[in-house]
Amino acid sequence: MEKVLEVKDLKVSFQTYGGTVQAVRGVSFDLHKGETLAIVGESGSGKSVTSQTLMKLIPMPPGKITGGQILFNGEDLVPKSDKEMESIRGKEISMIFQDPMTSLNPTMKVGNQIMEGLIKHQKVSKADAKKRAIELLKLVGIPMPESRVNQYPHEFSGGMRQRAMIAIALAASPKLLIADEPTTALDVTIQAQILELMKGLQDKLDTSIIFITHDLGVVANVADRVAVMYAGQIVEIGTVDEIFYDPKHPYTWGLLASMPSLENDGNDELAAIPGTPPDLTNPPVGDAFAPRNKYALAIDYEEEPPMFQVSETHFAKTWLLHPDAPNVEPPDAVKQRIRKMSSNFDKPVLVKEGK
């Protein structure tokens, strides 16, 4: 399969009064054509910074890409200037933001906001752009697009604004769509509609999607592959089945166990992850998750765990996969999920470098 995006050992830090915050600490992943990669993690895990860095939308300074490469269609985006990025943003890569209330321009008609990208990137006339804007609004399921195109964002409901945002993002048929918590601000019924819409459009347009969320239900619904981020690093990545039915990292276990399932009758306590995420001004030595991890080994406090490969597509960054590690049992809530994966290697393999 064709690779659209390849991120190699990306590092991003922010200069603040309190010191340098290492928001992203060596993230590597790739994305194929037409694929959806979900990135999950709690706030502060660096998932939004990673995605904004892909479009170079982080403010620089105080932000800085301190290392790594972002290969988009084989071209590295890191050294590109703002001017060069302009021809990529909105055209090749576009983004859907979390809050449709604040990310649309309240003083501009919705139609004009969609046309803006078209006129800039595709050099079409105003009249043609408007026609296309109406088509796009129709595509994202807005009724009466001919009159809606002349309305302002405040005349749209929350779900419709999010649809309008998707129309803007899709205007120039980008190869990569980054959706940063696109449904978090919406009700479940509207969320379900938007997710269906995004999947439908992906089938039609063959776009690759990076989907950032902290809702594991949404992940199970949309993702082909899942990357779990913690403290600025990807701690586990694999296909959606591998992450949900054969998770290897204790943090992934914790996330899965802390969600009540609908079968859970409420008698047993939820397995909460104790404590809070670490301060990334001074990332802890060793495994950043160790202080909150009841499975932590002595080595976790001394040396950062390397990536281990469990199958062709499944990687996890934990010492527990080391041949010398003791055998541990995941929490009960996770054990119920676990299935045998036929694609797994006989033994986890240590990954030397990069991924």
Binding site: D187, M259, S261, G266
Partner: protein, 311 residues
């Protein structure tokens, strides 16, 4: 059955009454809350669930209807003293832990505000001891007492909010989306804490939320609201296994589950209010389909639902 702590009878809360932009946020709902239970209230934004909570605690004056708490009408005329005594028994935990704590007060003062108002501590020392005790109850420690809210994370702030609610020893707590603003791993911590406090202190909760899986987990019974009306009220398991009202069915079919296999085959059902085809003269009310399971329906639907249920 346990004794009733709270009876809500035909409660209405309308805004902008008499003007063209009148909103019937809560439009005639009735339910009871029993001592020691957790009643979950779910629905989409704008369905009136938060307004219901706020009207029950008298943050709004009800347009019509009664809220009877421990045999007394909350919205009746009260002397200042009676009102104060009532305020002590009912407390609220708010959704946004960032906006609901005064940034210029220390944690100790925030928690002790209720203690001061109600004169629950005789001496300064007793007051601080109570604050320390409360901090410990919610999983924070003594050193946190002299800090300000901005020094805490979202989960910790929500714990402060809970400590503040507990400070006056209430019987009943209204939690308005207490975990919606928190991360998944922190949500579980707060929910576990709330359950533990309920066991230890025999608290009664009204838990308002839109995250249905968490509501199912924490609630004994669940009420579903739609456009200012309660459309279904049932024990938590019963509601999930046998949703009867089409809106409840649609809502349940929309929750994504953390299970890729069931997600691949998910069938979402849309709700169309017109599908009921109510005639003008039909009387709509809550009817009991099976013991404890109420649905808002017409006489005709009631018979259909009952038949479906027995199958």
């Amino acid at each position: 059955m346990a004794e009733k702590l709270l009876e809500i009878k035909n409660l209405k809360q309308h805004f902008n009454v008499g003007r063209p932009n009148m909103v019937k946020a809560v439009d005639g709902i009735s339910f009871d809350i029993y001592k020691g239970e957790t009643l979950g209230l779910v629905g989409e934004s704008g369905c009136g669930k938060s307004t219901t909570g706020r009207t029950i605690i008298r943050l709004y004056d009800a347009t019509d209807g009664q809220v009877i708490f421990d045999g007394e009408n909350v919205h009746g005329k009260k002397s200042a003293k009676a009102l104060k005594a009532f305020n002590r028994k009912m407390q609220m935990i708010f959704q946004d832990p960032y906006a609901s704590l005064n940034p210029r007060m220390t944690v100790a003062d925030i928690i002790a505000e209720g203690i001061d108002i109600h004169g629950l501590a005789k001496t300064k020392k007793a007051r601080m001891e109570r604050v320390y005790e409360l901090l410990e109850t919610v999983g924070l420690n003594k050193e946190h007492a002299n800090r300000y809210p901005h020094e805490f994370s979202g989960g910790q702030r929500q714990r402060i909010g809970i400590a503040r609610a507990l400070a006056v020893d209430p019987d009943f707590i209204i939690a308005d989306e207490p975990i919606s603003a928190l991360d998944v791993s922190i949500q579980a911590q707060v929910v576990n804490l709330m359950k533990k406090l309920q066991r230890e202190k025999g608290l009664t909760y009204l838990f308002i939320a839109h995250d249905l899986s968490m509501v199912k987990y924490i609630s004994d019974r669940i009420g579903v609201m739609y456009f200012g009306k309660l459309v279904e009220l049932a024990p938590a398991d019963d509601l999930y296994n046998n949703p009867i009202h089409p809106y409840t069915q649609s809502l349940l079919s929309a929750i994504p589950l953390p299970d890729p296999e069931s997600e691949r085959t998910r069938q979402r059902r849309a709700y169309d209010p017109a599908s009921h085809q109510y005639a003008d003269n039909e009387s709509l009310e809550m009817r009991e389909i099976t013991p404890g399971h109420f649905v808002y329906c017409s006489e005709k639907e009631f018979k259909e639902y009952q038949q479906q249920y027995t199958k």
